[in-house]
């Protein structure tokens, strides 16, 4: 091969390498932008869990105590009769969402030891939220600590 031919071959090799590098860089740019967007739009699971778990102690469809005679709801007071897995079905059902793909909860009353879990809870506690509550049991009201264990969305 003469000198001209050699130069042309080396130019082609260089250009092929450069084109390859730029293509890879463009892909990396695309992925980086997408990753950035995902970071910006991601809702922190703790925030979502906090907002959903508000209902556990505030409405009678969940575990809040409601006076049968007056119908008055007492937010922050847990009715122990409702504090069951079945009781959870009227409050929050992850099966109606995406099952294990949505947030799941395990509620535990520290003092009394009672526990209630959502339908798709797999005993994988990712983090916990703590709430001081009052518990109504057989006419008695006592202070307790409600621990809300959260099972994050599994993808």
């Amino acid at each position: 091969m003469n000198r001209k031919g050699q130069t042309a071959t080396s130019e082609i090799i260089i250009w092929t390498v450069v084109t390859g590098i730029f293509t890879v860089l463009l892909f990396i740019l695309g992925f980086t932008i997408q990753a950035f967007i995902n970071t910006v739009i991601e809702v922190p699971p703790r925030l979502e869990a906090e907002l959903i778990s508000l209902r556990f102690t505030t409405i009678p469809e969940c575990f809040a105590f409601q006076d049968e005679t007056t119908g008055k709801v007492v937010p922050g007071v847990i009715d122990l009769n409702k504090f069951t897995n079945e009781g959870f079905n009227t409050c929050y059902r992850s099966a109606a969402l995406q099952g294990i793909q949505s947030l799941n909860f395990r509620l535990k009353l520290e003092k009394s030891g009672e526990e209630a879990i959502t339908d798709k809870y797999a005993y994988k506690d990712d983090f916990a939220i703590f709430k001081e509550v009052l518990v109504k049991r057989e006419g008695m009201v006592e202070k307790d600590l409600l621990v809300i264990y959260v099972q994050k969305v599994s993808r």
Binding site: L26, L29, L54, R55, T58, E61
Partner: protein, 136 residues
């Protein structure tokens, strides 16, 4: 071209054009992402979904005004999800967020190109609507 004149080799021109092309591609990709209202749409629908979850936890009634201008979008709320889209947009680009409302609760309402969107909780109903003048 003579020897005294400015000589531009064709290879150099091709190299410059290549670099410009790659640069333009990168910029256009960035611009396309920036122009897309993906982030605005995603964060707005997440906000609305979280607001519905929060309202469901209220023992009483309440009205909340969403603080962003949604006049370019339409929102539809039902008992299981909320949908956000730009009128005329293909359905694949519509955004949906599902939620679970406690038993007996319902979600309903439409807000079409409303600059101020309100979410109202009335007993066991969560209603999505445009805000009245005194609400926004």
């Amino acid at each position: 071209m003579n020897r005294k004149g400015f000589f531009i080799s064709p290879v150099f021109v091709i190299k410059v054009l290549f670099v410009l092309l790659v640069g333009l591609l990168a910029i256009s990709k960035g611009m396309a992402f920036a122009k897309k209202d993906t982030i605005f749409k995603q964060t707005s629908i997440d906000d609305i979904s979280m607001m519905v979850n929060t309202l469901a936890a209220l023992p009483g009634d309440a009205v909340v005004t969403y603080p962003r201008n949604l006049s370019e979008y339409s929102l539809v709320l039902d008992s299981t999800s909320v949908i956000l889209f730009k009128p005329g947009e293909p359905e694949q680009e519509w955004l949906r967020r599902s939620f679970f409302l406690p038993e007996g609760y319902t979600g309903e309402g439409v807000a079409e190109k409303e600059s101020a969107v309100c979410l109202e909780k009335k007993k066991k109903r969560v209603i999505l609507r445009g805000c009245a003048e005194n609400e926004s």
